[in-house]
Symmetry: C2
């Protein structure tokens, strides 16, 4: 299996990408990493930081897609960037998956225009997996589409259901609509119309509205929302997790007794910190694209990149794209 | 100073309201509590639970405004409910403030139609104060208006600035627009148009867009958003706080060493739990109403009600309503 990594996407590229890919190459047998980006710069970074590129390939792409570029330019003026070239190689079936920690907008537009959508998909959505007190849940759309219609949200519910059941292995995943109250008439017109649609949709297991306070309790398997709200929730989740980690660290750094206290709960403390760390959750797939495309966190370190590669591997192994295709067709039949 | 409490608002009414008001009556000299609700039921609850009503008054109102009532009905068919009668008494200047843990929608409509808006205010907004790693910040609108225009968000920024500076005592409060990216062109059209307006507004100290992950870091004093997004953020904040508390408790309940560990960090642990507990933050004022109206959390216990009374007292003491009036006029002058 070949997985292309955008060597120049993200705040810590290319070093974190190279380090993370090295971890992946060592730990994931059967995965060949292809680093997309300017060959000379990749080799130089590897040499300087003494990272072996053994067993990896390079997809030479002379330029970098900068954050302030117009996303649509990835089709023409910027098709020779690491992101543009990587997506093109995926579309041409030269690899099985592509991942990037670069611009979300460019990745979305590039994936949609170059790799294309699966037939029957209105818009691709970012599916983020988030921790809860029980098992994790899927939040989508986590940031691909700022303005959504009820039809789009219904489509996301279906995409999420297939991904959750077939790739994440959740049995009969519970779909909820993220809203400001439980009753059917709550929220803005987008929520009210979406509620009516989801309620009638027999291809999903809709459990009604969910308030944001219930999300960390694991009250649903899939939370459906527009990309604006989803992105706000995703980032607040991340920010609260960070504050929590900071608070815990501060708690145990007060005095010698606190140090002793920390030592006594160390295993639990480590598990707790790990639970709240987005880096453990890897990237988020672009659901609805005709190929495996993973968005890694912009500030990914090596561990986060490693987990994003691992997630790409899982998506390929579970045949995510074909599974979505087949199931979309099946569920759309009368 | 007279503060009316809706004795029948909230999940734990009337008991929690009576207990919280008793605490307030004992701890806040100069505050007279007026309990709004059916006299007999209030007296019966007080008798059964042995709560002294010494020093308190009762505003007899025979009915309760149920959660599924149409909010607008508070004006006519339901004006004799505890919420309707309380708001009427506030409008008639028989008291200085009104608080309720009942239906947000009814409280908003009732406050707007009965107590009325301050001149120059487009819509009242709920201002919620949330904890951060540093000092708390004001989130508005936290749930009053699901669908907003750029003009409304600009108005919220102004209301929030006055409240933050004059009531919360923040010097030159930093206003940020809650958005999915830092750049001016990020977000949906509502965010883009609001950004342009806030940037030009010389009456506020606008520091640009803020991503949700920065909120718990205390990166702004006021986060402006529409009521739908604000309510989602508020409730996720609450839910994450709850998960955090649960995790901490579980961490220290594993074995005898964990108990010892907890004992060694007890003061810090208590402070941390307190920091994350919404009950410590009392209620949220309806900003822009021509009188002090406080929305307490629907599931308020006695402590939360006490803090909501305390907050009402602060708003009255700082002359919130007049301050907003004067400043709105001043800032609207050319």
């Amino acid at each position: 299996m070949k997985i292309i990594a955008d060597a120049f996407g993200g705040d810590n590229a290319p070093l974190a990408v190279l380090e993370g890919c090295r971890m992946a190459a060592d730990k994931l047998p059967g995965v060949t990493i292809v680093l997309a980006g300017e060959r000379e710069r990749i080799l130089e970074c590897a040499r300087k930081s003494e990272i072996s590129l053994d067993g990896m390939e390079i997809l030479d792409a002379p330029r970098v897609f900068e954050m302030d570029f117009d996303p649509v330019s990835i089709l023409r003026e910027n098709k020779d960037t690491s992101m543009g070239a990587g997506l093109r190689a995926l579309a041409d079936k030269e690899a099985d998956a592509f991942l990037s920690a670069g611009s979300t907008g460019a990745l979305l537009v590039g994936a949609t225009l170059i790799v294309k959508r699966i037939r029957g998909v209105r818009r691709a959505a970012i599916g983020a997996v988030l921790p809860t007190a029980k098992k994790p849940f899927l939040l989508l759309d986590a940031g691909a589409n700022s303005e959504c219609t009820p039809e789009m949200l219904e489509n996301f519910a279906l995409l999420g259901s297939i991904y959750s059941a077939r790739v994440l292995g959740v049995e009969k995943p519970r779909v909820a609509l993220a809203n400001i109250g439980e009753e059917a008439n709550k929220g803005d017109s987008l929520r009210q119309e979406t509620y009516a649609r989801l309620k009638e949709n027999r291809s999903i297991h809709f459990i009604g509205n969910i308030e944001a306070r219930e999300l960390p309790q694991g009250a649903c398997d899939i939370a459906v929302t527009d990309g604006f709200t989803g992105n706000m929730l995703l980032k607040l989740y991340e920010g609260m997790g960070k504050m929590m980690k900071g608070n815990l660290e501060a708690l145990f750094k007060r005095n010698v007794f606190s140090y002793l206290g920390a030592a006594m709960v160390l295993p639990g403390l480590k598990a707790l910190k790990k639970q709240m760390d987005y880096k453990e959750y890897g990237g988020a797939p672009l659901l609805g694209i005709n190929g495996v495309v993973i968005k890694a966190h912009g500030s990914s370190n090596a561990t986060a990149i490693y987990h994003a590669v691992r997630q790409a591997e899982q998506c390929v192994k579970s045949d995510m794209t074909e599974t979505i295709k087949t199931n979309l067709m099946k569920r759309s039949e009368p």
